[in-house]
Subunit: 192 residues, 2 copies
DNA sequence: TTCAAGGTAGACCGGTCATCATATTTTGTC
DNA sequence: GACAAAATATGATGACCGGTCTACCTTGAA
């Protein structure tokens, strides 16, 4: 990785963390620069679209990272229910070790910016679709017909995202565990 | 209603609408005052805690309104599944008539402010609990044991909230319908 | 080593932000 | 009508905002 690419990655990582903890509009570029130890001049070099461009990169990075994690647990567990539960276990760990400051930057950007930035709306949509895809595929392999599998996968992603928000309100990972219990009977194939 | 109380109510209603559409930090007090046609001096009179106090009033008002709506549909429908579906139908209508600018101000405040304001965190928690309560009660009446009913009710609320965020990203009410389909088998009593 | 491209440093800009303070007006009760 | 409480009007404050600009430095390939 070149020095510039490292600078860029640090900006994205710090922005993601701050967006998760406190939202998009409340996170100023000065804070991102200070906490990442990166220079202002580089911000506009790497992200010519400015703050929105940075947000797009954050959404894309998080989408890829979480999609990879879901694909990995789907490949490593016998049922969709087990995969989702593994993902939830990981998310719960994040919530607990960060005192609820960890969440989902895609949800932050969708809520705060999507109405006024069609590109960011599309980016957040792609992120959610990307997360539903491995679950839907697995559900089809479990015997669900394709439309129902896709719908159930999206429902599961919605439940996860809602649970993350509620963990913020409750101050603990309880809601994620509620969602794990809620989804289990739906994601377990009938032969189990 | 006195003139002052009307001013206060207009502030809360406008703030709620703007928080839903664009988030908390991106909504400045000037915009709230301009769009509600209310005076700046009155803001600090009615809300001595300032913007946070206004947010607390928004959360409280929305919690009460949606709890009342849930209680009404629970009382008017034969099963929990029907009640949740009626609520989802209403929410979908809001999403569609506002081009996705309607959402949930409690989720906005939880995401953006709860980490730095313990009072607002507690207020958002109470709101979610208030929404889960009528569902849990109904699920108990359907035969679910109390701990499972409470957990499933919270899971359902999480799914609803996540669906609202995803509607923002998708630009339509599709995710709410996915969640309705996802929850139906879980909320339908075994004798149906 | 050279040099072009990539990347950085840092000052500056006009604008917005939430809050505060105090004088004034309005409201509501007796 | 009197009067106290409620509500409003309005200007001011210091902090912060994202973006721009230009000179300069660093990197990486030939």
């Amino acid at each position: 990785m070149s020095k510039g690419a490292e600078t860029r990655a640090r900006m994205i990582e710090t922005a993601s963390r701050l967006f998760q903890a406190q939202g998009y509009a409340a996170t100023g570029l000065n804070q991102i620069l200070t906490e990442s130890g990166t220079p202002r001049g580089s911000m506009y070099f790497h992200f010519p679209q400015g703050k929105a461009g940075l947000a797009a990169a954050v959404v894309e990075a998080h989408a890829a990272e979480f999609a990879a994690a879901l694909e990995a647990v789907v490949a490593a567990t016998p049922t969709t229910a087990d995969a989702v539960e593994a993902a939830i276990g990981w998310l719960a760990g994040q919530i607990e070790t960060t005192a609820c400051r960890a969440g989902c930057p895609v949800t932050v950007v969708a809520l705060e910016v999507a109405n006024d930035d069609p590109d960011l709306r599309a980016a957040t949509r792609r992120a959610y679709e990307r997360w539903a895809a491995p679950l839907a595929e697995r559900l089809r392999a479990d015997g669900h017909p394709a439309p129902a599998a896709a719908s159930l996968a999206r429902g599961a992603v919605a439940a996860l995202e809602g649970a993350l928000v509620m963990c913020r309100a409750f101050g603990d990972a309880g809601p994620l565990r509620d969602v794990a219990a809620t989804l289990r009977p739906l994601l377990t194939p009938p032969d189990r």
